[in-house]
Structure formats: C-alpha cells, structure tokens
C-alpha cells in the first residue's frame, strides 16, 4: 500500500529548524549545561577531567541534536477475526476509542481528534488531526493539523483470505519534535511509533474478538526487590491500566 503524500520531502526540508520554543529552550539548556560540565572537567585532573569533559560534550551534542526532529514511517498489519465493515464501524465510532487506546480522544469543538503521544518530563506531546478521506468499510485516511507533532496515514480494511476476518493495515508517517525527547519517550514507554500502533491494534483485536483485554496489572506477587523492580521497567511493566474497566466491552461472543 502506498500513501500518496509529500510529507517526507517536507520533513527533510524542515529537519534543520526546531519548530517550538520548548524544544529551543531545552536545546539551549543542554548546550549551556554541556559547556559548564566540560569547563568543570577541564579544571580537574585525571579520570575526572576525561569523564566530565566527555559528559559535557555528550550533553552539547544532544543539545545540537535537539534541533532536529525525529521522523520516520511505520507500517503494521494485523488480522482481526471480524468483518471489514464491522471493524471499520468500531474504529470510526469515537465512543469505542477508550476501549483500545488511551492516546486517542475526540475534540467535539474542533471536529478533530487528538493524538497524545505521552507526557515526558510533564510536557504533553499531542496534536490535533482530522480525517481527510475515507470509504466505508475500506479505508480511513488522516492527517495532523498544523502543530508540534506531525503525522498522517491511512488505515485499510482488507478481507482476510479463508474467512479469517479483516487485515487491518496501518501505514503512517510522523515527525516528532526534539530528537532526545522523542528517543526518551520511546525508551520510557518502550514504544517507538510502530510498536505503539502494533500494541493498539493488538488491544483492538482482543476487544473485538474476545470482548476483553487480558491483563496482569494488579495481580499479587512476592517481594520484587530492587532487581524485580528494575526488570519490571525493562519488561515494560506495570503496563498502563487496561483501557476499559471490566465488563465494559460489549463485542464478544459468537
């Protein structure tokens, strides 16, 4: 599937310029901090000199890097055991969104939807977007409205062979401001955009096929200790609360 868009060329043109003031501030702070550390390092001797200078240089590098956006494309295909029209209708109804995604919200005032990527260091990375084209039961295309976060893409609903339901194929392009922000976002949440889409589709499939979202959040355990706690972060646990409360999803069962 191809998305007909020239976002990629726009992205490469705008790559060298930061677009928002937060990003600029962080960039400046990193550069200043980096220079300070390096200066402190140069005033010391031995290993402190080398390590502090290296740390300073790294921060400076990140500061400069900060002026570049993190952009790319992602494509994910997932088979859901429901008819294409059914999957289309389920996704198109924003009342269903909380059941499979915490990142999507409708904005009734602006007739657009809001995609929130996360809140790294307390700053919410989100954008407004609108549906640009669609055909019932076939596809939905969207594009972000001018703002910090740029993304556009299309989700197709193809009938899966052998009566296995629907192949839901998502292809998107994105540009997230602040390279280090975006990377830490990916690190903290353990999810690059492609993985986020995959996990969202996984929950959508679970909700549409079984009517519930299996979870292990909230179950008992023995003493985790330091190692257990560290591993939980590495294994991306505890996971975000299940999108819907028990008993809310009403789609299961055949």
């Amino acid at each position: 599937m191809t998305i007909t868009t020239d976002l990629n060329t726009q992205l490469s043109k705008s790559n060298s310029r930061p677009q928002n003031s937060r990003s600029k501030k962080l960039s400046a702070a990193l550069l200043l901090g980096g220079a300070g550390l390096a200066a402190l390092g140069l005033s010391r001797r031995g290993w402190q000199r080398i390590s502090l200078a290296a740390a300073g240089a790294y921060l400076g590098y990140e500061g400069i890097n900060q002026t570049r956006a993190f952009s790319g494309t992602a494509r994910v295909s997932y088979t859901i055991g429901r008819e294409p029209e059914e999957v289309y209708r389920f996704i198109r109804d924003s009342a269903n969104w909380p059941k499979f995604s915490a990142a999507l919200k409708m904005d009734p005032q602006r007739n657009s939807f809001i995609l929130t990527l996360g809140r790294p260091f307390g700053m919410k990375i989100h954008s407004h977007a609108e549906v640009t084209d669609e055909q019932e039961g076939k596809f939905i295309a969207w594009s972000s409205l001018p703002g910090v976060l740029e993304h556009r893409g299309v989700v197709h609903f193809f009938p899966a062979p052998g009566g296995r339901g629907t192949e839901v194929s998502v292809a998107l392009e994105y540009k997230i401001p602040g390279r280090m922000f975006s990377k830490s976002l990916a690190l903290v949440r353990g999810k690059d955009p492609e993985q986020s889409v995959r996990e969202t589709l996984r929950v959508l499939k679970q909700i549409m096929e079984c009517g519930e979202h299996p979870t292990v959040t909230g179950q008992p355990s023995g003493k985790r200790g330091f190692k257990g706690a560290a591993l939980r972060v590495m294994y991306r646990e505890p996971q975000p609360e299940p999108p819907s409360a028990p008993g809310e999803a009403q789609l299961a069962g055949d």
Binding site: R198, R202, E209, P214, V216, R224, K227, Y235
Partner: protein, 394 residues
C-alpha cells in the same frame, strides 16, 4: 494468602502475598485444593527460562473450587470444582477455533517480548515467565484464572483431586506427544525421559495402538515405573550408544516414532553431553539438545520425531541433514490442553488409566522449595510432587 515465589536461580520462598482479585470481566478466582510441581518448573528453578522477575508466583498445574467470578463469566459458578489448563486461551481467535489452543492470539499481555524472540507469540501460561504473559501461578492458596468460561473443566464428584489434577498439563502433554506420532497398529515408539510426561507418553502410546514402547532413562525408579506400563527399557548409563541399542531392539529399523520428553536440560555422559553442558553453563546457549540429536539419529526412515520437551532458543549441532535424508516428520509445541480435557477425562472415568500412579510425594506448600531441590536432583525416589496449599507443615 501463601504462595511459592521465585526469587532467583535455585531460590524459592513461600511468602505471604495479597489475595488475587478479578481484573478482567472474564476472570474467576479459585481456591486451590491441589497443585503440582512440573518438570518444566525445574527449568525456571534452574534459571534457564528468560524474563522471570523476583517475586513471581510459580505453578501451572492446579485445580480447585471457584470462589468468585467476573461479570462476564457464564459457564462457572461459585462452588464449582474445576481443573485448569496451564495454557490460557481466549476461545475466540483463529487458533482457539481450530483447536490450536496453546497458540492463542489474545491471551498474552506481553506478546511483544515473545514476538521479539520467536517472531510470534503463543498463548499466555500460568506462572511461566513474563515473556509468556507474566500471569501469577497456582502454587498458592488462590489463583486468578483469566478467560474462565473457556479453560476450566468441571470435575465429576466421583473422581478425587489426584485422579484429575494432571489433566492440567502432564497427562494431555504426554498424550499429545503420542498422538503427534501418528501411531499405526504395530508401531514401535521410543520415549526419552521417564519423568511424569514420559510416563504418560508411554501409556498414551500403548492406548493409541503402539505394539512396543522403549523407555530411555537412567533413574531406576523411573525405569521401573515405565516397566510397570509394559515398556521395554534402556538405561542409557549402562549402554555404549543409545542409537545402536535402539537399532538392536528394533530389528535394525529404528523406532517408528521418537518422543523427546526431556527438552532443554538433557543429561548424557558423552562428549556431546559435556559440550552442551559447558555451553549452557557459559550462557552461550539456552538448551542442551542432546536427546533431540539422538532421537533424530535413531528414528527410522519416514518416521516422526515428537517433541513435548521444552526448548527455548537456538539449538546447536542438530543433525538436520539426517532429518532431511530420512524424510522425518517433526511435531512439537506447547500442549493444546483444552482439546484433550474431555476425551482424557472420559478415559479416566472409564478406568483406562488412573493418573495418580505417577505421584510419589504429597506435601504441604511450605515444603515446596525443598521439594523442587529433591525433584530436580532425583533424590528420595521422587517422580511427582503434589502440594496441598492448605495443609499445615509438620
């Protein structure tokens, strides 16, 4: 409640933890009446299964009484006595609908981890690493059972716990291993490993029409239990070469089917055995595939190698050329437990088999850490340990 928790390699403790709660609409909570230690739990004990976290509650063979059900549960009610498959299945996906229950698409909340390692994820399992769901296990006083309408099997009152407990794993696992051999009347089946799964594989192979079953182990009590099932035996510690011995015992043909009921922690006092042991100790390999190599080498032309033993990673020096040259069929995977629950319950009810034969130790939960050790080290003539989570330690 009391629960057996994994705290690291060779480190288990019985701890006081919170009681489980209903977390999803299809959950049920069981009060566990009997639970068992599985041979595959020893892989966790020995630290060979990745993505375990200190504090994880172990145990995937258990049964009990329903004490609470989620709002969506229809098939179970409080007071029902059930045995629970160790694989967790949603009952609605392509795999569940085609009886491939252990490949369920929807039951592993941590599927991304298994996808990184294996390309795709199988079903979630109770008490068996975070990569396979991170579900708290059943070597405890209570357990939460997800998709409770799908898995648990109600047990007839005239059967006691010990007769049905092993429907949770080892009986279906041994049975599927034999079924995967596509046994024809007159077939000879060789079974490596006479632990509990091997014992059920031996008996299932006979049930499915095998004329001769050859059981391979080195532990005397396990071999004699196999002999009670009328299997011929090979004590591999007393023969020069298992493959040659099998040829000798099968008129030079080789067994029609070979079952590897050992898996990743095979023992062998041979050069390949020590090679595998060294690699695993150095953590450059998950698995010691010594038995698998023998099974492939020994199997007759056009035969089947059936693998219920657990493997985790990239297996070294597998004679794939032999597999190709002899046109072997390979069958493997976690057991589709749900598929076998009712047919095997029927066999128990008909008196064809009483699975309790395999039990050698009955202990309170407090004794579990100790029991893991002597089960692993094959001391005290241990073959199968059943735990009572409510019994007081002596």
């Amino acid at each position: 409640m009391k629960a057996l928790c994994w705290q690291g390699k060779n480190k288990l403790s019985v701890e006081s933890v919170d009681d489980p709660k209903i977390l999803s609409s299809g959950d049920a909570i069981l009060k566990i009446t009997r639970t068992a230690i599985c041979g595959s739990d020893l892989h966790l004990y020995d630290g060979y299964i990745p993505t375990m976290e200190p504090g994880d509650i172990l145990g995937h063979e258990f049964m009990g009484e329903v004490v609470e059900t989620g709002p969506k549960v229809e098939n179970l009610k409080v007071g029902d006595r059930v045995v629970v498959p160790f694989t967790i299945s949603c009952g609605h996906c392509f795999f569940c609908k085609t009886q491939q229950w252990s490949l369920c698409d929807n039951s592993n909340p941590n599927a991304w981890m298994a996808e990184k390692l294996y390309g795709f994820s199988g079903s979630g399992l109770f008490g068996y690493s975070h990569m396979l769901g991170g579900y708290a296990g059943g070597q405890a006083q209570y357990v939460r059972v997800p998709f409770a309408d799908v898995g648990p099997l109600k047990v007839p009152q005239d059967l006691n716990d010990e007769q049905v407990l092993f429907l949770s794993d080892i009986f279906p696992t041994g049975y599927m291993a034999a079924e995967n051999c596509d046994i024809k009347i007159g077939d000879v089946v060789a079974v490596w490993g006479c632990g509990p799964v091997g014992q059920f594989a031996i008996r299932s192979a006979f049930m499915l029409g095998a004329e001769k079953v050859i059981a391979i182990d080195r532990v005397h009590e396990r071999l004699s239990m196999a002999r009670q099932a009328k299997a011929d035996i090979i004590n591999y510690a007393e023969v020069d070469d298992v493959v040659e011995e099998l040829k000798w015992m099968t008129g030079g043909r080789g067994p029609d089917a070979c079952i590897d009921a050992v898996g990743m922690e095979a023992h062998a006092n041979t050069l390949p055995g020590w090679y595998d042991k060294t690699k695993q100790s150095l953590r450059v390999a998950f698995d010691r595939p010594t038995v698998l190599r023998q099974a492939i080498q020994a199997c007759r032309k056009g035969g089947t190698v059936s693998i219920p033993g657990v493997y985790g990673g990239f297996l070294d020096k597998i004679p794939f050329g032999a597999g190709f040259a002899k046109a072997l069929t390979f069958k493997m995977g976690q057991t589709h437990v749900h598929k076998y629950l009712r047919p095997l319950l029927e066999r128990i009810q008909n008196g064809e088999i009483d699975p309790a034969f395999v039990i050698t130790h009955r202990l309170p939960l407090e004794e579990a850490p100790n029991a893991y050790q002597f089960f692993r080290d094959k001391q005290q003539e241990c073959i199968k340990v059943v735990l009572d989570p409510w019994a007081q330690a002596a």
